[in-house]
Symmetry: C2
DNA sequence: CGGCAAGTCCCATATCTTGAGAGACTGAGC
DNA sequence: GCTCAGTCTCTCAAGATATGGGACTTGCCG
């Protein structure tokens, strides 16, 4: 469904199909029956059936009492192992805590995953209006400060790819709802060095973010400060941005993203 | 490595292998190189290579700067979708909150996944010593109250299977470290209706758990109350157990696990 | 410099997946 | 209670697809 012709030299049809199944179930609001899976992915009934049985044996999918399929808990397990192996999170945490202490607002650490930003960590100040975000949830790029911060430092080609895959769903009055408008925002972000989400995702919520760049200046993620608009006022933005910039600088040093060029060409140095 | 001969009538070799790769990377403390993956799983170099490339294209694995492989963030994404589709969690949450209010200690909601218990949710009382557990982490059954609570209500056959797969790692002086000892504990748990972990996982931490049974009395999970031993005293156990039992009763009603037998035979009614 | 270990890539072969189709269920409607 | 439509399960022969031998490259260490 997502893309029927997976590019790339190395192919294992069975894997592409299996992940397409997981994708489909992951996107779906409700559990799906065999027939629905088969027709959505244009697989033969019996092929889809076999895949689902194997995936079930591995607990990658589960069946509801109605015999429908949904994602299985093994994925939850894997996901948590993945994030544990991911050291950006723990390296960044002390810096984020300092940032929260300084600003007294909620801080988030995000990375880009496919065409969405995914929340890797969140630190809340002691006295705060609880925010709805949950670690692990993901949002489209167009309505979040972190999304814009990352986009702004991505190569053109990658930006185009992401914009093409973004549906520009509206969340509030101010949600940016076209690729052109978003490009404008990206330009702005590049100029001032930080991105802002001014109630574009949720009424009354203002966020500000800066990207986390590796030695090659490729954005590996972004950090943001979010709070109610009445506290995070326009006047305060530059000051908060300053704290953010100091924070990323600290993280960069910790991660070894110091400007003197490491020879790796990969986006995520370990 | 785990089991070389996956049972089950439906087989897709490529999938079994791919999941074996993910398993291996998930178990490993450090990222692994191609050669290590290939030899651990007894795959041909070029086969392992192709799998890793395909998995990487799907972001199921990532490479470190050293070219080694570890689990990818796509799994984190999938895992969080899986848990969102999992409604036990949200159904149980209000009940858990009440439980925490009553006992003023931390409550956990767990389910059994393969041979380990995995933490699905955690509610902490306002004033509490922060516990180390993180939602999504998993522990072996032998050293946790939730593990014992679930085991006690599982069919013999399944218990044997799990015990066989448990390594009885020691965490404290009191950790149960043999299958026989654990069987004794299971017996005890069955008699009194709740399970106890008396500093068997962590010094100074005492937990008490009861299983969550579906209409067929099959354990779909367990809930526990945990706190420092000086607060969760032996005298208080029966009273806490009582709160726990009331709590599961509430959840059972909410989930439709009422005793009058629904005709489903599957363990997890939706 | 030479040798070893790890990673990448290509291609003919046989293995493993595929999908047609038949049978088993289920539930709805009459 | 019967039929019909829809969904799910299962088997098997055909052939598309993954496999792994092996050559080539790269980088490391003595």
């Amino acid at each position: 469904m997502r893309d029927a012709t997976p590019q790339g030299t190395y192919r294992v049809q069975a894997l592409d199909r299996a992940f397409a199944v997981l994708d489909l179930l992951g996107e779906s609001e409700t559990p799906l029956g065999l027939a629905q899976v088969a027709s959505s992915l244009q697989l033969h009934k019996s092929t889809a059936h076999r895949f689902l049985m194997v995936l079930e044996r591995h607990h990658m999918v589960e069946r509801t009492s109605g015999g429908k399929f949904r994602l299985g808990l093994r994925l939850f397990d894997f996901g948590n192992r993945a994030i544990e192996q991911y050291d950006l999170r723990e390296r960044a945490q002390p810096h984020l805590r300092r940032l929260v202490a300084e600003t007294e607002e909620t801080a988030h650490l995000c990375v880009l995953e496919q065409a969405r930003v995914i929340y890797i960590d969140k630190i809340e100040p002691a006295r705060s209006v609880r925010m709805i975000t949950r670690i692990g949830s993901s949002n489209p790029v167009h309505c979040t400060s972190v999304g814009k911060a990352i986009l702004a430092f991505l190569p053109e080609e990658r930006i185009n790819d992401i914009l093409r895959r973004t549906k520009f769903e509206r969340f509030t009055q101010r949600t940016i709802s076209s690729a052109e408008a978003l490009r404008g925002e990206i330009e702005k972000t590049r100029r001032r060095g930080y991105a802002v989400d001014d109630e574009e995702f949720e009424e009354g919520l203002r966020c500000i973010a800066v990207p986390l760049l590796d030695a090659q200046r490729y954005p590996v993620g972004a950090i943001s400060v979010s709070g109610p608009s009445f506290r995070v006022t326009a006047q305060k933005l530059p000051s908060i941005a300053n704290h953010l910039l100091q924070c990323v600088r600290g993280i960069s040093v910790d991660m070894g993203f110091t400007s003197t060029g490491r020879n790796s060409r990969v986006p995520w140095p370990a």
